[in-house]
Subunit: 240 residues, 2 copies
DNA sequence: CAAAAACGAGAGCAGTGCTCTTGCTTTCGC
DNA sequence: GCGAAAGCAAGAGCACTGCTCTCGTTTTTG
């Protein structure tokens, strides 16, 4: 795709990457609030004003880091889901719940390993507010991974649809999203899936942001248990 | 309790309150990131250095705002829970689910009305990390309000305990917390309660931080539906 | 090969949190 | 009641931030 069009362009992409790397380092070390353009430039041995040739503002740099972070969690989730699917061949084949749990655990592992990056994407929005359009697609990857599990379970007939009815507007939103994603799932399941998706990050945020301090000590077990309950809520049957 | 010990002390508390008020105004208008000590001082017509006599640092001011915010949500939750309890006398008495939903709705209403304050307490931790001891008690108020509903339902025999077993460490944590709070609830219920508490704020954070943009449009209905499901998860029976 | 575009560095602006010193006022101990 | 002590407000100043503008230099391009 990207042919070498000249030394200048290559240098540009290299420097852009170096800036992002150094910024990511500072982000991981001190958090988004203390990320300073001047410090990045200083560390890279360039004038701070030169940095503005690559990122027109601090928020643009942060946006780039946000996109990368979304892709990192998304990739972790997808990888965990894929290996769980491929591993569970043979006698215990088709265990959607194991796959669901694997994805959630992967997201949690990533979050615990990169707390500041997690806070950047799932904490309070730092910049002027509304995320740029470019972030929405990477932001959806974890959700899509979870949807994939339920879609496969549904196709395999291993999904127990929830009995009780949902409000019409909710089902409407859910069906609209399902159609947009080209996935065939009942509205009720889709709606509960969205809820589970949000609630998953509620658990993670409370754990990471210290709300569980002095309340929950067995964090891993608690998380796994809660994730199982979320799965049950969307209709994934618990294996015995 | 606080007798008027002199003009000086009264002036001090008045100025402290004025600083907090102005800071809260700026917080509500622009968010925590743009809250500036100098701007507060400027607005109050005093030198910025004078402000440090009242709050030794910006983080201390923020901490005071955090405590106030926790108390504000907590109070909203408690008030909603109390009126729901007292209103539901007579034939339809003892409707724990209505009370539960009322509390959750009150929290959501408060959050929607004060998004920046919500972000301050339930978003990424802004300062150097660990919240001071003084915040933990106000932070627990919403959780305690929810616990109260379930406690009353349990005492009235209107609680359907979840059947399936939970991991020992999780139950242990839950029972320890129940004992600490002096509340008599089964470990399994208590554990699910903690999960529901965290998941409630997951739903709110996703809504407030824009994660539902283009995904969920019928926000209120979706929230109410999810809250009902959370209640069912902890054993509150849904009335017909 | 010359014009145009991209680039790096430096100075500078307006703003920040925070400290220190300097006077003034209120409180407190004798 | 008065002098010492403590509390207070203000100003100057430090080190830092994001960001802009200008000015030479280098690279790309027509």
């Amino acid at each position: 795709m990207t042919a070498i069009r000249g030394a200048r362009e290559r240098a540009r992409s290299e420097i852009t990457a170096a800036i992002k790397d150094e910024a990511r380092r500072q982000l991981a070390a001190e958090g988004a609030a203390k990320l300073s353009l001047r410090a990045v430039a200083r560390e890279l041995g360039m004038a701070s004003s030169a940095l503005y040739r690559y990122f027109p503002s601090r928020d643009d740099l942060l946006t780039a880091l946000i996109v990368d972070a979304y892709n990192a969690v998304g990739e972790a989730a997808e990888a965990a889901g894929d290996t769980a699917r491929d591993t569970a061949r043979g006698p215990s084949a088709g265990r959607p719940l194991a796959r669901w749990s694997a994805i959630c655990a992967a997201v949690r592992d990533w979050a615990l390993a990169h707390p500041h990056e997690y806070a950047l994407i799932y904490g309070s929005p730092v910049p002027g507010y509304h995320a740029p359009r470019s972030t929405t697609e990477p932001a959806a990857r974890v959700g899509l991974a979870l949807i994939g599990v339920v879609r496969d379970a549904h196709a395999a007939g291993a999904l127990k649809e929830p009995a009780e009815p949902l409000p019409d507007p909710v089902v409407g939103d859910a069906l609209a999203l399902a159609a947009e994603l080209g996935v065939e799932l009942p509205g009720a399941v889709m709606a509960r899936l969205i809820g589970a998706w949000a609630q998953l990050f509620g658990l993670l945020s409370f754990e990471l942001f210290g709300q569980f301090n002095g309340v929950v000590e067995a964090r891993t077990e608690f998380f796994e248990q809660s994730v199982r309950q979320l799965a049950r809520g969307v209709g994934l049957t618990t294996p015995r």
